[in-house]
Amino acid sequence: MVKLFNNESIEKIREALKKWEKETLPLSLQRFPERMERFTTLSNIEVKRIYTPADLADHDYFEKLGLPGEYPFTRGIHATMYRGRLWTMRMFSGYGGPEETNKRLKFLIKHGETGLSLAFDYPTLVGIDSDDPMASGEVGICGVAVDTLKDMEIIFDGINLGEVTTNMTINPPAPVLLSMYVAVAEKQGVPYDRVGGTTQNDPLKEFIAQKSYVFPPEPAVKIAMDVVEWSVKNLPKWNPISISGYHIREAGSDAVQELAFTLADGIAYVRHLVERGMDVDEFAPRLSFFFDSHINFFEEIAKFRAARRMWAKIMKEWFGAKKPRSWWLRFHTQTAGVSLTAQQPWNNIVRTTIEALAAVLGGTQSLHTNALDEPFRVPSELAAKIALRTQQIIAYETGVADTVDPLAGSYYVEWLTDEIEERAWRYIERIERMGGMIEAVKKGYPQREITETSYRFQREVEEGKRFIVGVNIFVDEVEDEIRNVPLLEIDQEEIEARQKERLRKIRESRNKAKVERALAELRRAAERGENIMPYVLTAVKAYATLGEIMGTLKEVYGEWVEPPLI
């Protein structure tokens, strides 16, 4: 046991505190009464006036912190962190058709982004084609429309997939989109062992928060784990899953819930893979995570540090993983879309900067910074560029990346890290008692917790207990002008017509017998409970559409209809 402070020092500090409370504090309180009766973080954790070594009296350095690159990784997963390599600047982007998105990716690469990240439109996210009646009016708005391999070929035209890594925010249709990516890489002559990137492929948080679910929980997890198993065996550089707290947070949870529900999802996946007969050390190094970085600065940093420590413990102690790499919690971060305001939108640049800084001080592996026009639409070129420049300024000008985990040892940050960890464990225990996250999701437990928290937060804002500049404090009387930022123009009807036309031509020109055979084999494989990935890949290469492949799987696995809970 290596304690940060010896008992004698702690005693002296406690005595000094008592004296301070009696002599120094009252004078100050008299002159400057405190702004609030109770100060709390966004997770409703009460924040004390001052933290001292006395708050870390029992803190064991090696148990709680250790050194970077060593268990429990609180200080970071790499020994040198950003001194060696900066985080990957990975801007979530995509809109319109594949042509517009190809142009946007090249624009961002030109301006220095170091990893790609694709945003898909809603029809793609829920696995239907652009010519499906349900897709009408939604094609190409919130992301890029992808119907067949042809679209993916256009998106990556002139971009060498052996030289970039790409994140794809795709969930139920992950097997299809990954197959398309792999097929494009093959066409470019890139060998499998050089194909790098991430599929989000995290079905449980779809039920909890993001709500682009398709299949019921059990088959959804089965299909996602097919992707993990296939990738581990075929694409050594691929992160087949990104276990995501981001959407949980954006749906209205607090930081503790985000952390707890995300790790509980991770536990469910590890269990499934182990039950499948896989060795934990074979797949665990390929698991990755994704968190939100919200505006309550220190709470977010504490959350990231607690996340690493908790996951390391889960993998080592619960699942008996032996390889240190299996204990790593590697994560991507996105600044909080939900913290941005439509009012006085230029202020969003400042919010994003603070949140990005928290992610960096929390040791993220990659980062997306939101654009100032996020409350309205997918970003304009200018807004996306400012967001990217924000990361570059943090990386190259501020010096915050020059030493590892610079906030370690802050009495407050360490106390808060412990507090968040403690609260998150309590949630995880509750979920374990319910039989794990799949059962908890079916009971609607995390969904209800999130609804409660978001409702509470909204009331606090309206009661003036929480402030949002431009919303309930420093409000502009007349704000039409300032609310009008130049937005990206999307000719939605033209894009939808273009997608439908391309789809029509492909349906006409492809080898129909080959498509039908591939879909029939996929169906049989799904019915037999085999790993579907090789069959999806064959279908994709025959230019079967996203909707056809997902439709085949829906016939076998069924569809999820959410009971509407409020």
């Binding site: 349900m134 009016g137 749906a251 409350p375 409702y455 959410e562 009971p563 409020i566």
Partner: protein, 137 residues
């Protein structure tokens, strides 16, 4: 007199249901009978639910940017079915789209930052108007 009845619905494919649920909860707490349809509703489903439940106000939440498309279909369908239920829309609506929605017959558009109090007041006023009009008819 029975409680005012409000339909809260998510039109289109987007899954951003935080706002809709918060508003539904607030309306419920304010004494309304609230029917929440859940996500991924088509205009046909919304109209059908409005008829089935005989609601006083229809509230629609859209955060996908497809509001013009979906709401114009909804309003057309309401007219075709001869349904005179006031419609309010909330979500990430850019200011220039507000007059377009109102031209279609939407009674109120709640932009980001609208308060629950404001929403409750408007919904109550529209429900009162509707009931009064029905009594006079």
């Amino acid at each position: 007199m029975s409680n005012y009845k409000v339909l809260v619905s998510k039109l289109g494919l987007d899954g951003h249901d935080r706002g809709a649920k918060v508003v539904a909860r607030a309306l419920k707490d304010a004494g309304f009978d609230v029917i929440y349809t859940g996500i991924r509703q088509t205009p046909e489903q919304v109209v059908e639910a409005a008829i089935q439940e005989d609601v006083d106000v229809i509230g629609v939440s859209i955060l996908s940017g497809a509001h013009i498309h979906h709401v114009s279909r909804l309003m057309k369908l309401l007219r075709e079915r001869g349904l005179n239920v006031p419609v309010v829309v909330g979500g990430t609506i850019p200011i220039p789209d507000v007059p377009r929605l109102k031209q279609m017959g939407v009674r109120e558009v709640f932009l980001p930052g609208s308060s629950l109090k404001e929403i409750i007041n408007v919904v109550r006023r529209l429900a009162e108007e509707k009931r009064r009009a029905e009594q006079q008819a």
